[in-house]
């Protein structure tokens, strides 16, 4: 992982949509890697609670996220008012990719941005921007 970059892992605690074997293997791999990283129990839950820790998770700079579909992750963050930086974010999809593929991407030095393109903005982003400009 690039210097100063962050790794975020979502344990998707409340559903069986991410294969357990993938989640477990990615978790183990990160524990063995010696990298600095963060794990959350369930990203959806944090968004619903507007958990203030989301801002810390985000925080700017390169970010790799191990979770689910990039479109869903993009708008989970967007709806929480902490839009992902498309140029500095890579989302690994544990629903579709193997644990080996996900771990390889997370631990690789290079970051390959893959947040879906689009100019849409969630209301909370717009509100936050308005507040920032005051």
């Amino acid at each position: 992982m690039a210097e100063n970059g962050k790794i975020l892992y979502c344990n998707c605690a409340h559903a069986k949509v991410v294969p357990d074997e993938v989640k477990e293997a990615v978790l183990d791999g990160l524990c063995e890697s010696g990298l600095e990283w963060q794990a959350v129990s369930d990203l959806c839950e944090m968004v619903a609670r507007r958990d203030p820790a989301l801002r810390q998770l985000h925080g700017g700079g390169p970010l790799k996220v191990a979770a689910c579909y990039p479109r869903a992750v993009k708008w989970l963050f967007g709806s929480a008012g902490v839009p992902l930086d498309p140029a500095q974010t890579q989302i690994c999809n544990m629903r579709e990719e193997s644990a080996e593929q996900v771990l390889s991407q997370l631990t690789h030095l290079e970051l390959t941005p893959n947040v879906p393109e689009g100019a849409g903005k969630a209301p909370r982003e717009i509100v936050d921007e308005a507040e920032d400009s005051r």
């Binding site: 990283w37 963060q38 794990a39 959806c44 689910c68 579909y69 708008w75 709806s79 903005k121």
Partner: protein, 297 residues
């Protein structure tokens, strides 16, 4: 306690000076158990990564051997920063010790009980959303609302009915996702053109059902009531209602428990009218806003 009336608790595994690092197996056990209790957990060796935020409480865990991690950037222990020295804990007790302390803090500060609610709610893809308000009109449970600038948004996440993706079916642009849903594009998969056509075909749920959805529910329920009064057989009335709902369940993938828990037909009508009025008001406000500020393009 509402979803948003809570502060957050995170556990930080501190492995920098003067702490002794955990072994990979200890880390695995700690991450698993702490995540299993619903908390966030972070591994770091950098004191500056331990920050104080009034809204986030941090439990900093390490083998500190009685010493505080000395660093000018590291804040002192306080209400939002609690240190836990686990130097004396054998590996076998480590996870229990940490989760126990986290649970104590959760109780003391009334942190959110993670097991009390399955996070099931719609997530709007604003790259696709056209602000048509179909979802607002459709939802009977007040999940949707509009922002100050009349943009559709999810306002009451916990009003959403678990495992019910019905509103995503009425979205003509496939802009509504449920990340925990089994299939695409509702789960967040990329939307392709054929799926758009398929979703558009599902927009008119009333035609799918051969009539207005709410009228159908009301009529069937009335018939069921009538039969109930004549026959005094509650099980027949229930069967009738179930039959009525089977098609809706199949076409929109709505869980039977959600359909069976719908309010009375009168209440359904009242809520539907209320939701439609909200949507219409938002559409009108948007038209007025656009008329006042026409798009230069």
């Amino acid at each position: 306690m509402s979803l948003t009336q809570t502060t957050a608790l995170q556990v930080i595994l501190f492995e920098g000076e003067p702490a002794t690092p955990f072994t990979p197996d200890e880390r695995k056990s700690l991450f698993r158990q702490i995540l299993g209790r619903g908390f966030s957990i972070r591994r770091t060796s950098q004191p500056e990564a331990v920050s104080v935020d009034q809204r986030v409480q941090s439990l900093v865990v390490g083998r500190f051997h009685g010493q505080s991690p000395a660093h000018p950037g590291l804040p002192e222990s306080g209400q939002n920063l609690v240190f836990l020295d686990v130097s004396d804990q054998p590996a076998a007790n480590l996870a229990d010790c940490v989760t126990g302390r986290a649970a104590e803090l959760q109780t003391e500060r009334q942190h959110f009980d993670h097991k009390s609610w399955k996070p099931w709610f719609p997530v709007i893809d604003y790259d696709r959303c056209t602000n048509c308000m179909q979802c607002l009109s459709f939802c009977l449970f007040g999940v949707y609302g509009v922002s100050d600038i009349q943009q559709i948004q999810v306002q009451n996440h916990d009003n959403c009915k678990t495992n019910c993706p019905a509103c995503s079916r009425v979205c003509p642009e496939a802009a509504i996702m449920f990340p925990k849903y089994k299939a695409g594009p509702i789960n967040g998969e990329i939307v392709n053109d054929s799926e758009i056509q398929r979703e558009k075909m599902k927009v008119d749920i009333s035609s799918l059902l051969g009539g207005d959805i709410y009228s159908l529910l009301r009529d069937r329920s009335d018939r069921a009531k009538s039969r109930f009064s004549k026959e005094r057989d509650s099980s027949k009335a229930l069967t009738e209602r179930q039959k009525c709902l089977v098609k809706l369940q199949k076409d929109a993938d709505i869980p039977p428990e959600v359909l069976m828990s719908l309010p009375s037909p009168e209440e359904i009508q009242r809520r539907a009218a209320e939701a439609s009025a909200k949507a219409e008001a938002a559409i009108q406000a948007n038209r007025q806003r656009q008329a006042a500020n026409p798009d230069p393009e």
